[in-house]
């Protein structure tokens, strides 16, 4: 459903509020069919917020955005699709673990996608975000 809408109606993402409405519909579906995921999202949010300099905001195309010092490290759509940003080199390395895939839209970029489906996926999602966070923190640190 998500892939169908993104593939066929993705051009509508620039209409103000529309991606957020779509994300709310995803949230409603998740609430009805995969309720446990909403609790997992809370725990992921809580964990990320415990990291120094990390903040949460609303992603411009719907969902929850994770930032470190106002720079995005990833975002989570309300159907459990986590998109995280790496360098292409790190992405290639991570892809070898076999649990992540190319970003659902930007396949050749450093973005990756990971679907949170099962309870054990929550820890892996946090691991993915932590890796991106660590790299961003190192990059943002003033050079001596």
């Amino acid at each position: 459903m998500f892939d169908f809408v993104v593939r066929n109606f993705g051009f509508l993402k620039h209409v103000p509020l529309l991606p957020h409405i779509f994300d709310s519909m995803l949230k409603l579906c998740t609430f009805v069919f995969k309720r446990h995921l909403l609790d997992a999202f809370d725990r992921i949010e809580g964990e990320v917020l415990s990291w120094k300099g990390a903040t949460i905001s609303i992603h411009k195309y719907g969902g929850m955005q994770f930032n470190v010092h106002k720079k995005e490290i990833g975002h989570l759509h309300s159907n459990g699709l986590l998109d995280v940003l790496y360098s292409r080199k790190i992405k290639k390395m991570m892809m070898e673990e076999g649990r992540i895939s190319n970003h659902h839209l930007f396949k050749k970029s450093g973005w990756i996608s990971f679907y949170i489906v099962r309870p054990e996926d929550e820890a892996y999602a946090i691991k993915l975000l932590m890796l991106s966070y660590s790299r961003k923190v190192i990059r943002l640190q003033p050079k001596a």
Binding site: I21, M25, K27
Partner: protein, 303 residues
Amino acid sequence: MDKKIYEFEIMKGFILSNVFAFSIIGITRFLKPDPGVLVYAEFVIVPLLMGIICAWCWKGLEIKRIQLTFFSCINGTLAIFLSAVFLKEGIICLLIVSPLIFAFIITGVFIGRAMFKKSNQNLNVSVVSLLFILFFVDSVSKHQYENLVSDVIIVNAPPKEVWKHVVAFDRIEKKENFWLFKMGMPSPVAARVDGYYEGAGRKCIFSNGYIFDEKMVSYKPNQDLTFDIVKQPRDPEIMGHIDILRGQFILKDNGNGTTTLTGNSWYRLYVFPVWYYDLWAKSITRNVHLRVMDHIKFLSEKR
């Protein structure tokens, strides 16, 4: 947190948001150029603000996502129920509007949650003010939208045979297959005429006894029947929100014993946003067409 305080804050969110919504809808009845029109602001901005009001009431409670979504659904259901009571809306009408209400309330709650977590007063005031300005501008603006729905079928009978069943037809006995008709939305069952000439009256009778009074403005046997709707029922179910203005059947002889039958309907919407309600209007009008046209086809092809 004390359970009683928690419950009180939750209830406060429900009550304040609904009081706000129905007060503002009541006030805008006096502002709008046409009080019968329900505008974009009432279906989009009001539920969004309702969600933000809830988020404001619930900001200190640290509510989990699952509960926040659940409470948003409860609030949406409450708003829909109150619409039935105070705005006298019908069940099908409320069913159509409910996805908008739920989606915008949930969006409002989560936008509000993010807004109040940041505690940026300037941003919060700007967002809410912008929504109010949009609401006011949309409420005082003139809204008018008319559209045409056209459907075509091939009938395996010559135009002369088809024409006999176009002007007036006996009761449709076929079971409903459109889900809204099955749920109780009135569907066309028969058409009667006062006479077979231009200017004669025609009556389209619906399943619940509703009658659309029509006047035939073009009567060209075996070619064209066009009629204006001169009187239509006012009903909380859809009928107050859409007016059918004109209907038309065009018959084209295909030269091989078959006829191309085109059904056209012109309608005016009284509910906005168009991008949402026109989808429903087209679908409903199309299914009214197809029910009648399939019946005409059945009668014409019956030997």
